[in-house]
């Protein structure tokens, strides 16, 4: 269990379900001809229960941001289905999708950047309501004020422009904007990346607070393992477009079964604890996602790789204890 997520997870049909989702981007040469595919998300099947916080971790190129954006509708999946609250939203036209997307919002790494610099904050905040809800101006105003208070800002901010408030306040406004339409699921993409640690703590508190207050479900995408450990109840570890391990947070952190997860956890510095760089052993760099190895994507760096790993791609299998691992050697 994530240490601070105390709300129990309701047992119902999942709020979000990904069924073998692929998102591929065409690679083009200088003449515009297609030379290949960048398989950013290459077959991901996970589900998110109502009210839970699912963490997605991985390093650059693993596809975690792409999957967040695919869920949010910014990218179209090349294959597979995305079911939100039972409805298939993967192939809807933008107009049809808009109705369902109300419940599914995407929060940028810097939510402040999602604000139009030419619009006053009050207007930016009201915009989601103008687009989606049928409220009168007065009702909109009330909703704006409520949410503003929930993120800890005052009414005085409504008439300001984004560049007139601090970065931290911009972040809050960006968050408030997402909450305007009362979403059920919020995709948080690297929400604390680049933040000072003292600010990070405050932002994480805010997320938890908002989750309590509005009954939100989070998809928490981050490369910062320490933060995800705190916030998520379940974690999916991604490598080159696939989920290599999936399970309860503490299980993953205390007894990971996939070699990549083990290396990943071993590389995280713990201030005041064991020094990782004295004995860290994962060599090499992640391969280019445009040029994935056959079979298991991790085999080029894995100590245990054998011939089988190049031929056969390991699938996610459930082990005793609940953990799901995609490795030929885990059992």
């Amino acid at each position: 269990m994530g240490a601070l997520s105390s709300r129990t997870v309701e047992v119902m049909s999942p709020l979000l379900e990904l069924q073998d989702v692929h998102t591929h981007f065409p690679l083009r040469d200088a003449w515009g001809r297609r030379t290949g595919w960048l398989r950013a998300v290459d077959g991901v099947s996970i589900s998110v229960a109502r009210g839970e916080v699912l963490g997605i971790v991985g390093e650059s190129g693993c596809g975690k941001t792409t999957i967040g954006k695919t869920i949010a509708g910014i990218h179209r999946p090349s294959a597979g289905n995305i079911l939100f609250d039972g409805h298939d939203i993967s192939r809807l036209s933008p107009r049809e999708g808009r109705v369902f997307r109300r419940g599914l919002q995407y929060c940028y790494q810097d939510p402040g950047a999602s604000l139009d610099p030419h619009w006053r904050i009050g207007r930016s905040l009201a915009e989601p309501l103008v687009i989606h809800a049928r409220l009168s101006a007065a009702e909109r105003q009330i909703r704006v004020q409520n949410i503003l208070a929930a993120v800890g800002l005052s009414e005085g901010h409504l008439s300001l422009y984004p560049h007139e408030i601090s970065g931290g306040q911009q972040r809050r406004v960006g968050l408030a904007r997402i909450l305007m339409v009362q979403p059920g699921l919020v995709v948080l993409d690297e929400p604390t990346s680049g933040l000072d640690v003292s600010v990070q703590a405050i932002v994480l508190r805010l997320f938890l607070d908002l989750r309590e207050r509005f009954g939100l479900t989070y998809l928490f995408i981050s490369h910062d393992l320490a933060v995800v450990r705190l916030m998520a109840q379940r974690i999916a570890v991604m490598y080159l477009g696939r989920v290599v391990e999936l399970g309860a947070t503490e299980q993953i952190f205390t007894a990971p079964r996939h070699p990549y997860t083990q290396s990943l956890l071993a590389s995280v510095p713990v201030a005041g604890g064991r020094r990782v760089s004295t004995d860290f052993v994962l060599e090499g760099e992640p391969p280019n996602p445009a040029n994935k190895p056959t079979g298991c994507a991790f085999r080029t760096r894995c100590k245990r790789a054998e011939a089988r790993c190049a031929e056969e791609e390991p699938l996610l299998r459930r082990l005793a204890g609940g953990l799901q691992v995609a490795c030929h050697f885990a059992n």
Partner: protein, 279 residues
């Protein structure tokens, strides 16, 4: 705004334009010989600048100063209408082309390229020649040849703004393309369009004067500045004031728009790049 006013040359440009507008509006009052727009006094023809006729008289004996003032009306009319038309055609085309960036956009841009390939003045001459000398034909010719400038500018700007986070966020929020284009993209590129329009006004006047000079503008006795310069040709160099007065007027007005446009560009651009500091 304040920054603009601090810029001396921009201020100068603004003053010139204000004077131009005032001259046009109050031409009836300011002109000592308002009837000279059409009237003529042959005995007084080709007099040099004196106490009565500040800029002298032309070949019909009409007071040049008064004719200039009334000509200002024409100048503004042509400039404003032609430029507005060009903007109203070019900006939406550029906006849609830049936003969608598909084959249709390419088509639109190729069309505008075709127009741009021909020198504007040549094209304008061709059109005006075909349609005949009249003020509305001048305006038409100018609009048709000028819209691609705006289309191109707006296309490029839209394409770069299109990738900004706040645009993507608006799309993710569920905003329709029309909403995003008009309410988000357009305000972001507005400063470029404003600057271009200001300078464009000056350019339009210049081309209009050129057309008038070539005899393709409104027919005599309309006091169009370009035509006045053309008329003066046979009396040069003795009646130097005949060419100098309208020529100077054109020069000043175009310069005024250019200076103002430059000033606007300096004033509007840095404002947007100023960010904030803090966590």
């Amino acid at each position: 705004m304040k920054r603009l006013l601090r810029d001396r040359s921009a201020l100068f440009g603004l003053v010139i334009i204000v004077v131009l507008v005032l001259c046009a509006v109050f031409a009836g009052v300011l002109a000592p010989f308002p009837q000279d727009v059409t009237a003529y006094h042959l005995p007084r023809r080709l007099l040099g600048p004196n106490a009565v006729n500040y800029f002298g008289t032309d070949r019909m004996g009409a007071d040049i100063f008064s004719r200039l003032l009334f000509g200002a009306r024409l100048t503004i009319l042509i400039a404003v209408i032609a430029t507005s038309a060009a903007v109203l055609i070019g900006v939406p085309i550029g906006l849609v082309a830049g936003y969608y960036n598909n084959r249709f956009s390419d088509l639109l841009m190729r069309v505008s390229d075709v127009f741009l390939a021909v020198p504007q003045i040549v094209l304008a001459i061709a059109i005006a020649q075909t349609l005949g000398p009249a003020i509305q034909n001048v305006i038409l010719a100018l609009s048709i040849t000028y819209w691609p400038f705006w289309a191109r500018l707006v296309y490029a700007e839209t394409r770069s703004v299109r990738n900004e986070v706040f645009i993507e966020a608006a799309v993710a929020l569920g905003a329709s393309p029309l909403r995003v284009m008009v309410l988000h993209v357009l305000p972001s590129i507005a400063s470029s369009v404003i600057v271009r329009t200001t300078i464009g006004l000056g350019g339009t006047i210049l081309v209009a004067a050129a057309l008038g000079f070539l005899g393709l503008g409104p027919p005599p006795p309309t006091p169009e500045w370009g035509r006045m310069v053309a008329e003066s040709r046979e009396f040069l160099p003795q009646a130097w004031w005949y060419a100098a007065a309208p020529g100077l007027a054109i020069l000043l007005v175009v310069m005024g728009f250019n200076l103002l446009g430059d000033g606007l560009r300096d004033a509007l651009d840095p404002r947007l790049s100023r960010g904030n500091d803090g966590p």
